[in-house]
């Protein structure tokens, strides 16, 4: 672990990204203390510019506090990003593991199914799914997971294909170990690093997709989110720039930070760089 941190902190920008993410997480965690009211509440004069009427980042056309929206929206973004990624990674690992390990017909079948998902443009597919299921947190999570898992499946399949013929796996066969145990205990731990890296980057994509959906009015109408804020402010971009801009910056910084962390994890975990020496 210490060795891992030593390698991670060599990448300065990754450390910066980690700090930013921790700040965003803290912001989301303490949202109810920072702004202990419903972010949808009319908090004052509509369209106040930043710094006036007691609004740190201004208010929107319905008098909602933009800063409160960002703080509460962080919760939504992080939650959806994490949960959707976990679901996607779970499905992807399952498909990839069986496909790569057993090969043959099963591999053909599973990969053709994966390709069907890959051929549909992911954002449009997500819109379609949410529109069919009616917008809610659950349907957004499902939609994001459904469009994201194929890349994990591809990755895991590749790793399993490469690892299943390694001698240590063959040794387990000769010891009479069953397939499930070999897959879970022997092979999977050896492909955790790339899965973690892809997963961390996927959180960023999930946040972007969620924002995009909310922007188009397909977000959960009862939950404040960054995309929703931008969507609400987009018609006034020229008269009240702050309504869109600050949530946009929040998305930018969070996604960037997550990507930096992903890069850092890649450098620190990449097994090919440290193997054999």
């Amino acid at each position: 672990m210490q060795e891992f941190w030593g390698r991670y902190k060599r990448n300065r920008s990754a450390v910066f990204g980690l700090v930013v993410i921790i700040l965003v997480v803290l912001m989301a965690g303490f949202a109810d203390l920072l702004y202990a009211f419903d972010p949808f509440r009319l908090a004052g004069k509509p369209l106040s510019s930043p710094g006036t009427n007691g609004f740190l980042l201004g208010s929107d056309s319905l008098g909602r506090d933009v800063a409160a929206g960002i703080v509460h929206g962080a919760k939504t973004s992080l939650l959806i990003g994490l949960v959707a990624t976990m679901v996607a990674v779970f499905i992807g690992v399952l498909f990839g593991a069986f496909s790569g390990y057993y090969g043959g017909r099963l591999d053909d079948l599973l990969m053709r199914v994966t390709e069907i998902f890959q051929t549909i443009p992911s954002f449009i597919f997500a819109i379609l799914l949410v529109a069919i299921m009616k917008p809610s947190i659950a349907s957004i999570v499902i939609a994001i997971a459904v469009v994201s898992w194929p890349s994990v499946a591809r990755l895991v399949r590749g790793e399993f294909l490469a690892l299943k013929n390694r001698e240590f796996v063959q040794a387990c066969h000769t010891l009479g170990m069953n397939d499930l145990r070999i897959m879970m205990r022997e092979i999977l731990p050896n492909c955790l690093s790339p899965i973690i890296v892809v997963g961390s980057l996927m959180v960023a994509t999930a946040i972007l997709i969620e924002s995009g959906l909310a922007f188009l009015g397909l977000g959960d109408p009862n939950i404040m989110s960054w995309g929703f804020q931008i969507g609400a402010g987009r018609t006034m971009l020229r008269s009240a720039w702050w309504v869109c801009t600050f949530p946009g910056i929040a998305i930018l910084i969070t996604v960037l930070a997550i990507n930096l962390v992903g890069e850092g994890l890649n450098d620190a975990l990449n097994p090919r760089l440290r193997e054999r020496n």
Partner: protein, 567 residues
């Protein structure tokens, strides 16, 4: 009087901070004269390759660089030469061939285009003439149908052909020095013999000085005029080939030469009447499959094992020898049921096991176990050594406590420190890892052990230790062993009987001594004739098992006497 081509004086090559030693190479003095072959011998990590690279100015600077000394090439110090001057020298005056011709050649360029590059960069010649010249070169290295090979891509050639093409390229401009870095290590023994002969012939024709890097004393005996032995970056001994090979003075050289197995087979042991394993008419074919819906052309079929019949008696070691692609590893994997056979019968103690279901086979796993070739790939890097060894018994239903106890016992049997139990595989050297692999295979108390090239990835001094360990374990535990190897020297020292395989077929079987003394099949004769250094050491008397003289580079740990006997 031959001119002195290369004169390396007091060479130091510095390694980056944090490496296991400060200098890769220290105080190295080497000389090479025209028409002479200097072999630099040493085990992995001895600095022999870096020395060669320094001559070409190919060190991975700035991390690794020459920090002191001079490399005089025809009176010019190449360590001080400018980059442009080095480019002039490379390829035209000093050229190099590498171990793995597949990676040294560019896979997306035809052979002709790659040879052409050398002429284009170094001499001014019209393209038709260059082409003609390249064809002549390919003829010189005895490649069949040179015009065709000019247009071929590296993957279309065999390993030996690729190495010939590399040599043609290296010798294109008649360099004064040819540096050969383990050029035959990746090749089969018969191909190796041809390539060595080719290098010798080309050297004679052009009066080239050859700096030959190798770890194999057999090759040294065949090709060297003079030898320099390197250990941990130092040249510990150098001199004429007769002197170094036959009368080594430095203890390290002595230990290394001692560790080279002799080619004269050891004395045969009496054969038990009890048959423990038999294989009859075993066949295995790869490929021939079609896609998901069964359309399209079937993929190419390869008959990896064809009608192989073998038997293994109690307590004996059966060697399966052959070159790469002969099907020996496939056969082993069929026997241990890592692969399913297409037809034939494999029986252990009278029960046919190759048709058992996987669940039924599980009960037989403790009869037969395997030691794998690559100690770096055969241990799961994420699992502690103790757990790796205990895995087998746990899988077979032994309690964890019991299995751990067995694992600790085995760790000491294979001669490792007991603290190894809690460590991860990456903390061990190749030889130590192979010991862990052996311990794992013994954890189920098997009766039959299949060893698939267990020493081919190891240095020669470590190799001897692992072979001794296997021998000791076989005797103490009364194991029967199938030993797969491509190295006839190893086979001569380890095996009671041999089966020689080629293209998936067993061409000859018999007692080791009989096969060595009187090979029946042409292929066996070819194999024996191709063993490098066969005239050297074959007269020496067969070495006793377990030499008590330990090699200095060894990883030996105090060995406990085998505590467990099979019940």
């Amino acid at each position: 009087m031959k001119t002195k081509l290369l004169d390396i004086r007091d060479l130091f090559i510095q390694l980056p901070a944090g490496a296991d030693r400060q200098y890769a190479v220290q105080k190295v003095d080497l000389e090479l004269t025209q028409g002479e072959t200097l072999c630099v011998v040493g085990e992995s990590g001895s600095g022999k390759s870096l020395t060669a690279r320094a001559v070409m100015g190919l060190l991975p600077a700035p991390h690794v660089q020459v920090s002191n000394g001079a490399i005089n090439f025809n009176g010019e110090d190449v360590t001080k030469a400018s980059y442009d001057r080095l480019r002039d020298i490379r390829g035209s005056e000093i050229s190099m061939i590498f171990q793995e011709p597949m990676t040294a050649l560019n896979p997306v360029m035809s052979i002709g285009a790659q040879i052409d590059e050398i002429f284009r960069y170094h001499v001014d010649m019209p393209s038709a003439e260059r082409w003609q010249k390249a064809i002549t070169l390919l003829e010189d290295v005895n490649l069949p149908d040179p015009a065709h090979i000019m247009n071929a891509y590296p993957h279309e050639l065999s390993g030996g052909q690729r190495q010939r093409a590399m040599i043609a390229m290296a010798l294109a401009l008649k360099p004064k020095i040819l540096i050969a870095d383990e050029p035959t290590t990746a090749l089969d023994v018969t191909t190796q013999a041809q390539i060595l002969k080719l290098i010798r012939d080309m050297q004679k024709a052009n009066d080239t000085g050859v700096l030959f890097i190798t770890h194999d004393f057999g090759v040294v005996a065949d090709i060297a005029d003079r030898v320099a032995v390197m250990q941990h970056g130092l040249v510990v001994e150098s001199g004429s080939v007769e002197k170094v090979l036959n009368n080594p003075t430095h203890p390290y050289t002595q230990a290394l030469i001692d560790a080279v197995p002799s080619l004269s087979p050891r004395k045969a042991r009496s054969r038990s009447k009890v048959q423990v394993l038999s294989a009859t008419d075993v066949c295995k074919t790869f490929g021939g499959g079609r896609g998901l819906f069964g359309f399209g052309v079937a993929s190419r079929e390869v008959k990896a094992v064809k009608n192989v019949t073998l038997d293994l008696h109690k307590g004996e070691t059966l060697g399966i020898v052959g070159e790469s692609g002969s099907g020996k590893s496939t056969l082993a994997r069929c026997i241990i049921r890592l692969m399913d056979t297409d037809s034939g019968d494999i029986s252990i103690e009278g029960t046919q096991i190759n048709k058992l279901s996987r669940a039924e086979m599980r009960l037989w796993r403790n009869k037969i176990q395997m030691v794998f070739q690559d100690p770096f790939a055969s241990l799961n890097p994420r699992i502690k050594v103790g757990d790796i060894i205990a895995q087998g018994p746990v899988t077979q239903g032994t309690s964890k406590i019991e299995a751990d106890k067995r694992a600790r016992e085995l760790i000491s049997i294979v001669g490792l420190d007991e603290r190894s139990f809690e460590r991860y595989p990456h903390e061990f050297s190749g030889g130590q890892r192979q010991r862990i692999g052996i311990a794992r295979s013994l954890a189920l108390k098997p009766e039959i052990l299949i060893a698939d090239e267990p020493v081919s990835a190891l240095d020669v001094s470590i190799q001897a230790q692992i072979l001794d360990l296997l021998e000791e374990i076989r005797d103490q535990m009364n194991l029967s062993m199938i030993f797969i190897t491509h190295d006839l020297r190893v086979a001569a020292q380890v095996c009671d009987r041999l089966a020689v395989m080629r293209y998936g077929e067993v061409v000859e079987t018999g007692a080791t001594a009989d096969i060595f003394a009187n090979p029946q099949h042409d292929y066996t004769r070819d194999l024996l004739a191709a063993v490098p250094g066969k005239d050297w050491k074959s007269s020496a008397k067969p070495k006793k098992v377990a030499p008590k003289k330990k090699a200095p580079a060894s990883t030996t740990k105090p060995k406990k006497k085998l505590a467990t006997k099979r019940s």
